[in-house]
Subunit: 352 residues, 2 copies
DNA sequence: ATTAGCACTCGATATAATTGAGTGCTAATA
DNA sequence: TATTAGCACTCAATTATATCGAGTGCTAAT
């Protein structure tokens, strides 16, 4: 073993496996790992002194650190990173399939994406025992399939927009002039004809304008467009789900002193998480952000495991878990991966 | 002043006003109120000794208590109760109108009750700086106004049910046989005709059964009924909104040691709150539950201020605020009252 | 390269001392 | 009779001090 202090070199095999074990131990117990108790606990064939030497090396290489001089070692972000990377290399994702019971039947009949994503997030948070986060697809990107107007009252009509994914937008619109059933039927057909196949954002951006300048074959075209435009205008996308914060309150280290502040900011400033998740959209697949790798001043001592999901071949959102840096990655990583694939499958099936 | 220890007697005027002041002081500062500092702070024309005598009496009467022998006094539940009752007597609810800005425009076009109640709850929690709770009307009680079936795919149709309040239920239903536009139009009329005017629960309970045994004037009546029944079957009412728990995390006394457990239980076991709120439905108007008056073992050190709201003349739900016993009742009571009236107004308007 | 031995560190825990805002009681006063 | 001044007492909170033990780094022997 080289006692030379080199800041960066590949780990020897033994070092690597010991580092793994240390990180694992710390994740499960939460107590700094000391040399003596460690060799004892795992009945290792080395003396505490040797272990100390190894640990010293790992500390020089910045995989471990000591909370204070006379304490055991805990992983640094780099240590966690090493651990997680090994996991990622070796993991067999094909397992785990049955662990979650997705309420597919209920989801199949649901037409509000928000509800669906709520169900998924709740599932993920309760399964992981951390907080689940989910960035939902921008509604603006979904493609219109059909528009239906339904009379509700003498001066109110219901605007229904069905998208290609099966998601439905419904809004009430108040109109001044009296419209007959036939008028509405005619409007519906006109709007469906003109808007079908376009994404919401295209419609907002240019289609409306074009249609207004066009000559149409129906009476009262203006009114039909007014109705549609009003209903679509503020198609809010809250597009961030955050579920199961209560789980984080059960983790002692998250509640302690200043860490609670991090937590509060996460809850309140949802934009922080949104920003983080949006960044993960740049690359497909599972991603882990450990401690300081989360590049937000406000958030300290947290990690995030997330993955992207797709509709067909297009990345549309991501879903993941937020928890303390000392997170059970071994359990969470495959869980998140699995969830991502479920969502992809679900959405893709819907949009066919 | 009678130094006799009588367990219950009406308070003298001075005692009452001092009790008021003590409770108020404790609510704002959170520190036990001591005799010396109290007379000092408010430049009262009595000596600390006199104040001690009065406080002693108030303690004998169980309006105040001492956290420990050599500390100042804090209110008991009975003390808070006295304070709140005086507030209720004297309050001028007519103020406060403009303090909240209700996003009426957005709400008007919203057809999903859940969304509307979400907005209201969020408003209430951010305005009160405590957690808002809201029990929504049972969807089962709402009355059907119209049913519309819309084709979505070759084997999928969209079931839309408009209720008298303007709330819309939408569900996807998969059908085996091919249905034409005309079929659906016919179904829609049939279902509207038969179900209109009935409440969902009636339909579930008996109407379906009756219709199945009846001879109908349309083809494929069975299929129409199947569709409707499937869509309505699990008309979930999550019917409890809980918003702004993060506010409670900012209150030191809620985070401390065991109190956090109460909080966690509130979040996780939503049934607790549901139970409490359901009880408030028995009586119209504002209600306050202080400390132990909340008859749930799990919840300690919390108070709830709630009020009922109506559709027309019928009590349908309640809305309120949960916070620490040391809550700013003076602010919260009229706020909750106002919110309740807003909701009543809103719903009543919708259902006309 | 490994290990035994040993002095040293320092957080955690326990114990004692100090402080200060509070009390109750009593006797004098308005 | 109600109020007040005076005084001894209480006790949580703070500060100071001692002890313990699991941990370390270093050195010399294996």
């Amino acid at each position: 073993m080289s006692r030379d202090i080199i800041k960066d070199r590949p780990l020897e095999e033994r070092e690597a496996s010991i580092l793994q074990a240390i990180v694992h131990d710390y994740i499960t117990t939460g107590k700094p790992v000391g040399s003596r108790s460690f060799v004892q606990k795992y009945s290792l064939a080395v003396s505490p002194a040797t272990m100390r030497n190894i640990m010293f090396d790992l500390e020089s290489l910045e995989y471990l650190k000591q909370p204070h001089t006379s304490a055991g070692r805990i992983p640094t972000d780099k240590g966690y990173r090493f651990y997680v990377n090994s996991l990622l290399d070796t993991y067999d994702y094909s397992l785990k399939e049955k662990e979650i019971s997705v309420k597919e039947e209920a989801i199949k009949r649901e037409v509000h994406l928000d509800k669906i994503f709520s169900i998924i997030s709740k599932m993920l948070s309760s399964e992981s025992r951390y907080a689940a986060v989910m960035l939902t697809p921008r509604f603006d990107f979904t493609v219109v399939k059909r528009v239906v107007l339904v009379p509700m009252d003498i001066d109110e009509i219901l605007f229904i927009l069905v998208t290609r994914t099966g998601v439905v937008l419904t809004k009430k619109v108040t109109v001044s002039s009296n419209l007959t059933q036939d008028d509405l039927y005619c409007f519906s057909n006109y709007l469906t004809g003109e808007l079908c196949g376009y994404a919401i954002y295209e419609i907002k951006d240019s289609i409306f304008e074009r249609l207004r300048n066009e000559k149409a074959a129906i009476n009262n075209k203006e009114m039909a467009l007014d109705i549609a435009q009003l209903a679509i205008s503020e198609s809010e996308d809250p597009n961030l789900h955050l579920e199961g914060i209560e789980n984080l309150l059960k983790i002692p280290e998250m509640v302690e002193n200043d860490r609670l502040q991090s937590l509060l900011r996460i809850i309140e400033e949802r934009n922080i998480i949104r920003r983080i998740l949006e960044k993960t959209l740049e690359k497909e697949g599972i991603q882990t952000l450990i401690g300081e790798e989360i590049d937000e001043e406000q958030v300290k001592g947290c990690s995030m495991v997330s993955t992207t999901y797709k509709i067909g071949n297009k990345l549309v959102g991501s879903v993941g878990v937020i928890g303390p840096t000392r997170m059970d990655y071994e359990k969470v990583v495959p869980l998140v991966d699995y969830t991502g694939r479920i969502v992809t499958e679900l959405l893709t099936k819907m949009s066919k």
